[in-house]
Amino acid sequence: MWKSSRKEDEAPAPAVEPPMAPPPVTSAFVRAAEPMRDSLRSGEVATIGKSVVVKGELSGSEDLVVDGEVEGSIALRGQSLTIGPNGRVRANIEARNVIVHGRVDGDIHATDRVELRKSASLSGDISTARISIEDGAFFKGTIDIQKPEPGTAKMEPRPQAPAAAASVPVSTSTQGSLLEPKKF
């Protein structure tokens, strides 16, 4: 398991690092997850590597990948923030899009979209227009979906699936006289 994750870390390196003269901070960067690679290739993404710890206010006007630790606040109005699988963020976040693979303790306000991937753990409130949560993600907090633009259709529940067990109303008659439930 450890080996394979190292391979993933190392695999994309040639795509984003010039072989001759890598910038001095590159060694601290990590590119651990497939979904992060495209944005890294674009070359317009700032990255906080997994060995970097930041305390204070982070703000900017370009996309940001956090795979290290941030404590404070993050404000990327109009931009995207990706919390990598090694990312540990204790901060309130404002951005256009927020994608979480790692751990966040704090509130997220995204004007467009929040994505919690299966490895994500988020303790905090979410305010956004759209949200996507993968099976396996952990979430503790409140989700407030902002009203869609006028003319946007309201999301409908999925169609009904076939039933394996039906239920019918019954009266509140008692099943026994025990005062405590049966314990195992």
């Binding site: 952990f138 529940p157 039933a163 019918v168 109303p169 509140t172």
Partner: protein, 218 residues
């Protein structure tokens, strides 16, 4: 060292479970009259605040936010198995630190929620948490609000499987095999009435799969 206190909370159906593991297995679709009635009650207006005390479920979040509601998620069973909560019980054994649990969880305003999805958690929670948790939820619910719960019947045994409940539609739940919590107890109808004695009314629905559905009005 794994505290012995929690060892009896894992097991069930012979499955191994690790933290938040979703056990592979076929999802079961289950029609639910009680849930249908619950959804009817919360569909009369938008902007309600719904509390889901089960495992994080993308389907539930999608469904409830799709109805225009705010959605609050808090996995009370997972929180209850935090090893940091284990304290000595004075008899050489261990128990759960109830005060710390409620310091760290379920910190809501009075009357904050319009509806609660409690699922079958009362059957799986550690004993010291059950009644205080129901009381805490009572405070957090608005008068007239609704709670949906499920209880195993007397035919269920300690190896009854633990499922995540995912909303498939307004009257269908999808049961997803999940971390193997062990069934702790069986409530009969009188126990359930006693558990929710501070609430204004209870309505039972009996299913064909050893599960009773309960709608509780605050």
């Amino acid at each position: 060292m794994v505290p012995s206190f929690f060892s009896k909370f894992f097991g069930g159906a012979g499955r191994k479970g690790t933290d938040d593991e979703v056990v592979s297995g076929e999802r079961i679709s289950r029609r639910s009259t009680g849930f249908n009635e619950y959804i009817r009650a919360i569909s009369r207006e938008e902007g309600l605040k719904i509390l889901d005390l089960g495992s994080t479920s993308p389907a539930n979040i999608t469904f409830m936010t799709g109805l225009g509601h705010k959605f609050h998620q808090e996995d009370v069973l997972r929180s209850a198995t935090d090893k940091a909560l284990v304290i000595p019980n004075g008899d050489g054994g261990t128990t759960i630190d109830v005060h710390r649990y409620f310091d760290e969880n379920l910190n809501f305003e009075r009357g904050e929620f319009d509806a609660v999805m409690f699922w079958d958690l009362a059957d799986f929670l550690p004993e010291p948490l059950v009644k205080p948790l129901i009381e805490r939820i009572h405070v957090a619910m608005k008068p007239g609000s609704t709670l949906f719960a499920l209880f195993h019947t007397k035919d269920a045994g300690p190896d009854a499987p633990f499922y995540r409940y995912n909303i498939a539609s307004k009257d269908t739940l999808e049961l997803q095999p999940a971390r193997a919590y062990r069934l702790q107890r069986i409530f009969n109808n009188r126990h359930v009435e006693n558990l929710f004695r501070d609430y204004s009314s209870i309505k039972f629905f009996l299913g064909r799969d050893n599960i009773r559905e309960v709608l509780v009005m605050r």
